[in-house]
């Protein structure tokens, strides 16, 4: 941690011009609440997570927020920054608050626990409802499965497998907003990786779980999920695959 400015507004390293303070508007409360304003000194290479941490440690210890790894691996720090869902640890202040103003809210489409913390339970419940869990067909008594990493199915699964469940896509999806039952991009994306896993034994049940009007067929290809995914995944692509897979099941092919 570098030197902290003794006087707000002065440069920490002396190497650049003095910067004005950031004006940060932070959501306080639950579903009902209001914004509270803070002034936070600007630092070089400052991230939004640095800003929130500064507020909680130096200005108001009652602020509730989430983070864990702080290096862009866990997805815990996701929240709404100036209207867009982002990872705060990977969002440089210079990039989103050129005019020095930041507005911070918890992730949209989810109930608010308190301040900047969203209740992720429905996100993960839908993951389970979409049968986003691996269902083994074999036991340890049988030989290893042989999966060619270059096979079409494995490449499809690999293209979608890196999801860490941060919730940015779910928070940004208009269909989630309009259809409270919609399973959402992350859950469907995960289901697609399993549809492409020949080792999985719940193919039919999974397709039946996702091909509902609150499932893949509710996706309107708006692609906000794909635009905003911090891992550059494309849930839209996965969901298109689920649509085709459900059609194959309908036409009598599909399943195992």
């Amino acid at each position: 941690m570098g030197d902290r400015a003794a006087v707000p507004g002065s440069s920490t390293t002396g190497a650049g011009p003095a910067r004005a303070n950031l004006r940060v508007s932070v959501w306080r409360g639950g579903a009902a609440g209001d914004y509270q304003s803070f002034e936070v000194p600007r630092q070089p290479s400052q991230t939004v997570l640095d800003v929130v941490t500064y507020i909680q440690r130096e200005l108001d210890p009652t602020l509730a927020y989430r983070f864990a790894c702080r290096v862009g691996m866990c997805g815990s720090c996701a929240m709404t920054v100036n209207g867009k869902a982002r990872w705060t640890c990977r969002t440089h202040v210079d990039k989103v608050a050129a005019d020095g103003a930041l507005e911070l809210r918890p992730l949209a489409n989810l109930p608010v626990v308190r301040d900047l913390v969203a209740d992720m339970r429905e996100f993960f419940d839908k993951w389970a409802r979409a049968r986003g869990q691996f269902a083994p067909k074999t036991t340890r008594e049988q030989p290893f499965a042989r999966i060619d990493p270059r096979s079409r199915q494995r490449r499809e699964a690999d293209a979608a497998i890196e999801c860490i469940g941060c919730g940015v896509c779910y928070a940004s999806c208009d269909v989630v907003t309009w259809n409270r039952d919609y399973l959402g991009p992350a859950a469907l994306n995960r289901a697609w990786t399993l549809v492409n896993d020949p080792r999985d034994g719940a193919q039919r049940q999974r397709l039946e779980a996702v091909a509902t009007d609150a499932g893949c067929h509710a996706c309107h290809t708006m692609m906000t999920c794909t635009e905003l995914c911090p891992k550059n995944l494309s849930p839209t692509r996965s969901i298109a695959g689920l649509k085709r897979a459900s059609l194959r099941l309908l036409l009598g092919g599909g399943g195992e």
Binding site: N82, G83, A85, H220, T221, M223
Partner: protein
């Protein structure tokens, strides 16, 4: 507008939905006018002369654009859902928009 909206694929969705709604409202009226022919040529003719007003002509042009836009957007969706995935969907959206504009121009020039 909410910050997560406004990117190309989102506009493609909105145009597709709004044009669909516009066409759904237009169609019953269109069918009614055509059925005027059942009651003899002159009722249809009277409607057709009434429809030469600038406002109606402009409205027709809007509907033709809506039709072309909805078709182009729909073709884009069919490509995205059924063809192997390509990452250049933005190009598809632009092509769709281009088609709609071309159709509108053709109609406007023909009028």
């Amino acid at each position: 507008m909410k910050a997560h909206r406004g990117h190309p694929a989102w506009w493609a969705f909105l145009v597709h939905r709004l044009s669909g709604i516009a066409l759904s409202i237009f169609l019953p009226a269109h069918f009614y006018v055509l059925s005027l022919a059942l009651r003899g040529d002159d009722r249809l003719d009277r409607f057709l002369s009434w429809s030469r007003q600038p406002l109606v002509i402009a409205g027709e042009w809007v509907i033709v654009i809506c039709l072309a836009a909805h078709l182009a957007g729909g073709a884009r969706l069919l490509a995205l859902e059924f063809l192997p995935w390509r990452n250049w969907q933005k190009t598809l959206a632009a092509l769709a928009a281009g088609f709609a504009v071309a159709a509108g121009l053709a109609f406007a020039l023909a009028r």
